[in-house]
Symmetry: C2
Subunit: 214 residues, 2 copies
């Protein structure tokens, strides 16, 4: 019906073969979409996004352990001139993931349980250069706006995540190339924002509020 409109070229980046197949199946039924490449790792996604002419990248955030994170890949892809739009597609809607994605330059943030129509709509929105956020994600961002004093900064979330993994202040400082003083400083702010007085209580509170993945 639209032989003269160029299709939207898609790159799928997800380490799950089944998910890639599902996205391909769902999106290929749309006449104006064309899946031109698939990446099974974040590194490969960056390569392909540079090599292939692509309009929109569907990017998972969690790739297998130890490798590059989807947010890094998003930043790498978005950095170039004339870069494709990156649509983050993940399972979780935690503060840490959302913030990381948005700051990395993602054009949208979708949850994997989204219905196909929502997915297609988001891709078109992204291709048009606009921003596409899942309702649940939008809510969470609004919450942060309404209560800015209680929202943890990016760095604070990073520290708290390591605390939740059971690391000591010394271990955290080495991991993040900081001094112990800085780690303690972050923790003081985290405790104040969460209204707790110990690292363990902070992890508990943050998990309960969806700031940390469980």
């Amino acid at each position: 019906m639209t032989g003269d409109v160029p299709p939207i070229r898609l790159l799928l980046a997800d380490d799950h073969p089944v998910v890639r197949a599902g996205l391909r199946a769902v999106l290929d039924t749309e006449a104006d979409f064309r899946v031109v490449a698939e990446a099974e790792s974040a590194e490969r996604a960056v390569e392909l996004a540079a090599a292939e002419p692509v309009d929109v990248v569907l990017m998972d955030l969690q790739f297998g352990a130890g490798r590059m994170h989807g947010a890094e890949a998003t930043a790498a892809i978005s950095a170039r001139d004339g870069a494709p739009r990156v649509l983050v597609l993940t399972t979780y809607d935690t503060d840490a993931d959302i913030l990381a994605a948005v700051e990395a330059g993602a054009s949208g943030y979708l949850l994997k349980d989204a219905p196909p129509e929502e997915l297609a709509a988001a891709v078109r929105t992204a291709a048009a250069g606009q921003s596409a956020l899942a309702p649940a994600v939008a809510h969470r961002l609004m919450d942060r706006m309404r209560a800015p004093g209680e929202a943890l900064s990016r760095r604070e979330l990073e520290v708290l995540g390591l605390v939740a993994d059971g690391l000591s202040n010394l271990q955290i400082s080495k991991r993040l190339f900081l001094s112990q003083a800085t780690v303690k400083s972050h923790l003081v702010h985290i405790f104040a924002k969460l209204d707790v007085e110990s690292r363990t209580a902070a992890v508990s509170a943050a998990t309960a509020r969806g700031m940390l993945r469980r």
Copy 2:
């Protein structure tokens, strides 16, 4: 090529439309498979498994918040006579999930990052009435068998639960009508069993192993 062999009838149970589409795409390419139904919730999977003649159910463990867990559905489906085999297909390989699935009567446990061939092979294995475990999963089960002394006692779990809620040793001692010495003593044993050296790491380890509800 095999017109006289009845196909293996499959039921897909997953709340992610994309994953269902992916499984369908991957499995429908196999000549001897036939996807006869899809369920977007655990409850629906139980209904369909009773209503439709099905050979193998591909069951996700995590369904959207608050609803029935995949393990419960697995148990419900497996309870009946002549029940289909249930193949658990999930993202995580935590002790808690694996144990729950196995105890619920699952015929296999696969990770979603499995390649399609492995998936197909597991379905055939399950259909033949045998057990199919992903290598990573099998390893984890073996580890549990080899280290049975790691199980926490009732009291230790009680203490660790309060630790996870962010209570101090003093608070815990008052809550359980103990002395701080006893709380510390329990923690020493907990640390040894979990092979960690701090309360926060203990919570992390216990959560990862499914010893604590999160």
